[in-house]
């Protein structure tokens, strides 16, 4: 099917405003967990312990086993962007720091933030500096190659070491055994080096416990995502983005188990009661491809809601549902976790499975200006997937953190066009 870019249907009238529903308990728990993580980093610093910054799909279980506090720049930059606080950081990065505006906006926000922490910039920190200055960096490149460059720069700027696991891109449909051996050797070395650097001791029994917790959390996360296959879906799909921090930052923690168990029970209750947090009638079910457009999440949601479009599947959140049983399995799983690190065949098959499982009638592609690895093969993926699944797609220009790369009018027009085709398809069925 061709990409939908034009539209002739009229926008339906917005439904009357409803009273704000109370926050779900699981959402309150997420807020508490996030606060606890930042507080623990401050407390660790006060005790003279070392605190790290980490790539979002680094094996978090290693730091958890060693009892080291680790914070996540990508997650933090997304938060700053979602709260519309990115501008001074983007300006600082592209101005005094001399970086190109072409670069990833998560990186730009973070590099500027780090400059403030290093005492070399006077940009006001809207969160009071809760993302404390790191003493070391934990890097994996399964998310992208830019992360490697970003962390090289942080390491030089802050005079701190990088502990690196190179996961290698997968041009094949499987993770080669040579990759598993290479990654496993790096994990072993990293555990030894990080233990030495931080003065912490590796404990196999503790690792087994953390691994068990992490596996339980992956299962619960995937289960929550999978329950979106009910029609209508029990949640407004965008809400699942809010829970990602517990998988990105706290994957090996029991607090995440509690949150996800609560989330699952809330979803089950909705299913049993025939209710949903989706605020209007679910007319269309779509999948979302790419990172959330954090600066305009509200506008995205509002526009989709106007047509009763619920995002019931995303290509992105499930990257953190990482399953394995031992260190070799961990090596393989982290090589294959993110579809950013996988070839188009793997990418397409995962998306096709999701489109079918969740009964999606269309796909919305976020052409994320920050993320070349997501964008530069997306057109081919779109074509193949649309043909295989028989569902239309549309794309829009946006950014995960740079508010300057988005047009509300374009988003609205593209969604209008998608709705027209989805409606035609419904009529034809």
């Amino acid at each position: 099917m061709d990409e939908v870019k034009t539209a002739t249907v009229d926008t339906p009238a917005a439904p009357p405003a409803k009273p704000k529903r109370p926050k779900a308990k699981s959402m309150i728990m997420i807020g508490e967990q996030t606060k606890a993580l930042f507080d623990s980093a401050i407390a660790a610093k006060e005790k003279g312990e070392l605190v790290g910054w980490s790539g979002s799909i680094f094996p978090q279980e290693i730091a958890e086993t060693l009892g080291i506090v680790v914070l996540y720049p990508e997650n933090h930059s997304a938060g700053i962007a979602a709260r519309h606080q990115a501008d001074p950081f983007l300006q600082e990065c592209e101005g005094p720091l001399g970086y190109s505006n072409d670069l990833c906006a998560y990186a730009k926000v973070n590099l500027a933030y780090a400059t403030v922490l290093a005492g070399k910039s006077s940009v006001e920190l809207p969160d009071g500096g809760k993302m404390v200055k790191p003493d070391f960096l934990l890097l994996t490149n399964n998310i992208c190659n830019q992360l490697t460059k970003w962390y090289e720069n942080l390491a030089r700027q802050l005079h701190i070491p990088i502990f690196f696991i190179d996961t290698c891109y997968n041009p094949w449909d499987h993770v080669t055994e040579s990759r598993v051996r290479y990654v496993r050797a790096q994990i072993d070395q990293l555990i030894a080096d990080l233990s030495k650097f931080t003065g912490k001791k590796w404990d196999d029994e503790r690792f087994k416990e953390v691994m068990k917790i992490s596996q339980r959390n992956s299962y619960l996360w995937e289960r929550a995502n999978n329950l979106m296959d009910r029609k209508p879906a029990p949640l407004s799909g965008f809400e699942l983005f809010n829970y990602m921090s517990c998988m990105v930052c706290n994957r090996g923690k029991e607090s995440t188990t509690a949150i996800l168990e609560q989330l699952n029970s809330e979803i089950e209750k909705h299913i049993a009661d025939g209710t949903s947090t989706y605020p209007t009638k679910e007319n269309y079910r779509v999948s979302w491809d790419g990172i959330a457009c954090w600066p305009y999440l509200r506008h995205n949601l509002h526009t989709l809601k106007e047509y009763g479009i619920n995002m019931v599947a995303s290509s992105y959140g499930k990257a953190w549902a990482i399953e394995y049983e031992d260190l070799d399995g961990m090596a393989r799983a982290y090589c294959f976790a993110s579809t950013n690190g996988d070839n188009a065949t793997t990418m397409i098959s995962r998306r096709l499975e999701a489109l079918k499982k969740f009964g999606c009638e269309g796909t919305i592609y976020h052409v994320n200006r920050s993320c070349k690895v997501m964008d530069c093969q997306m057109m081919e993926v779109q074509r193949q997937l649309s043909k295989l699944a028989g569902v239309p797609f549309t794309s829009f220009d946006g950014d995960q953190a740079d508010y300057r790369n988005y047009s509300e009018a374009q988003f609205e027009t593209r969604i209008q066009g998608l709705v027209e085709v989805m409606e035609q398809n419904k009529g034809g069925k």
């Binding site: 001399g98 030089r156 891109y169 051996r181 690895v373 081919e380």
Partner: protein
């Protein structure tokens, strides 16, 4: 064998019309493998009895490639995709694509589906080169390439053939580095444009042939009296400095290029494959681990600035021109640090944006003019 002028012209012609070189080798019954930039393991192609030929884009506005790449993708990749789709690479038996940046990762897939008549062979280099396991991993990657090439040639690469290929490439490195030094004594002849075509042309020749031509050029230059250059000496850094019109602007403003750190030029010649350390495949992997100072190869400490400073000191360059390939994020991350290091070392810098298919030469010209006045 020709005179200096003829030899330089042969190399220039190859850069201007690589297609002729491709046809020349095909007419000899040879198979040719397209090598995406940078650091394709050409030695393996050579050892397989085929000709490795560089695919470095060109002045080609993307039309067909727009169905594969967004407008903010690397101009070299846009041009390679465009040239592929329009049939300019017909005759290649395969292409090898190193996945050294995010766009190159995606190019493996775009090529695979968009160019089904020219098979794609990927190479994923290890980036954690401090890990001893990276060597075994890379050997395995090379062996996969060797097997894939055997499906084209019908024969596996022998240890002897790879050893000989390594020797040929090491000799070529030495000759190219010798040329770079000799050229600085003859900056009246080896202008920025001429220097560029000598350095780049290696991508379009069987390496021993190229070595022979460049050796002659060196010999002919050495027979001439040393030229006392009175203009401004600069070093170029980045991925590539093209098109020729841009280099002409440098010439017109009295600049000579006395050294470079371009991926298309000296970066590929500055690291030899060790002569000892194991079998040929392993030694080739050790070469990767010895590469340095490049935005596409992970290293601690951002050493590029200090490396460029040394190059300026060694060549007497007063400035460095950063030839920033448009939308090249690995280079963009390096820029603030090496510029600061150069500034601290008293070396002037200028950044110009490189876009092979829409160079705004007028604007760049004005900036180069101001830079000439400044240094």
């Amino acid at each position: 064998m020709g005179d200096l002028k003829t030899n330089l012209q042969i190399l220039k012609n190859a850069c201007v019309n690589p297609r002729l070189q491709l046809e020349h080798y095909l007419a000899q019954g040879k198979k040719v493998i397209g090598c995406f930039p940078p650091y394709t393991p050409e030695e393996l192609v050579h050892a397989a009895g085929m000709i490795p030929m560089g695919l470095w884009g060109g002045n080609k506005e993307p039309v067909l490639a727009k169905s594969y790449l967004p407008p903010f993708a690397c101009p070299i990749m846009q041009a390679d995709m465009e040239l592929g789709l329009m049939g300019a690479y017909k005759g290649l038996s395969a292409v090898i694509i190193p996945t050294l940046c995010d766009t190159l990762r995606c190019m493996t897939q775009n090529w695979r589906f968009g160019m089904k008549n020219i098979p794609m062979i990927p190479i994923v280099y290890p980036q954690n080169r401090k890990s001893p396991a990276s060597i075994d991993y890379l050997v395995d990657e090379y062996e996969t390439i060797a097997v894939m090439m055997a499906t084209i040639t019908g024969q596996m690469i022998t240890e002897k053939a790879l050893g000989e290929a390594i020797d040929i490439y090491n000799e070529h490195n030495a000759v190219m580095n010798n040329f770079a030094m000799t050229a600085n004594e003859h900056l009246d002849i080896i202008t920025p444009t001429v220097r560029h075509s000598v350095m780049k042309s290696a991508f379009f020749f069987e390496k021993a042939e190229h070595t022979a031509i460049v050796k002659e050029i060196i010999k002919e230059l050495q027979a001439l009296p040393v030229h006392k250059f009175t203009g401004k000496k600069v070093v170029l850094t980045g991925i590539a400095c093209e098109p020729d019109e841009l280099l002409k602007v440098l010439e017109d403003n009295g600049f000579a290029v006395v050294g470079d750190d371009l991926a298309q030029e000296s970066r590929q010649y500055r690291t030899d494959t060790p002569v000892k350390g194991g079998g040929a495949m392993k030694r080739l992997a050790l070469q990767w681990n010895a590469r340095h100072g490049c935005s596409l190869v992970h290293e601690d400490g951002k050493p590029r600035g200090s490396m460029l400073l040394k190059l300026c000191q060694a060549t007497g360059a007063l400035g460095v021109i950063n030839c920033l390939m448009k939308f090249c994020d690995p280079e963009e991350y390096d820029q603030p640090y090496f510029e600061a290091d150069l500034k601290n070392g008293g070396i002037a810098t200028l950044t110009i944006e490189i876009n092979q298919h829409s160079a705004s030469l007028e604007q760049i010209g004005t900036r180069i003019e101001s830079f000439a006045e400044m240094i």
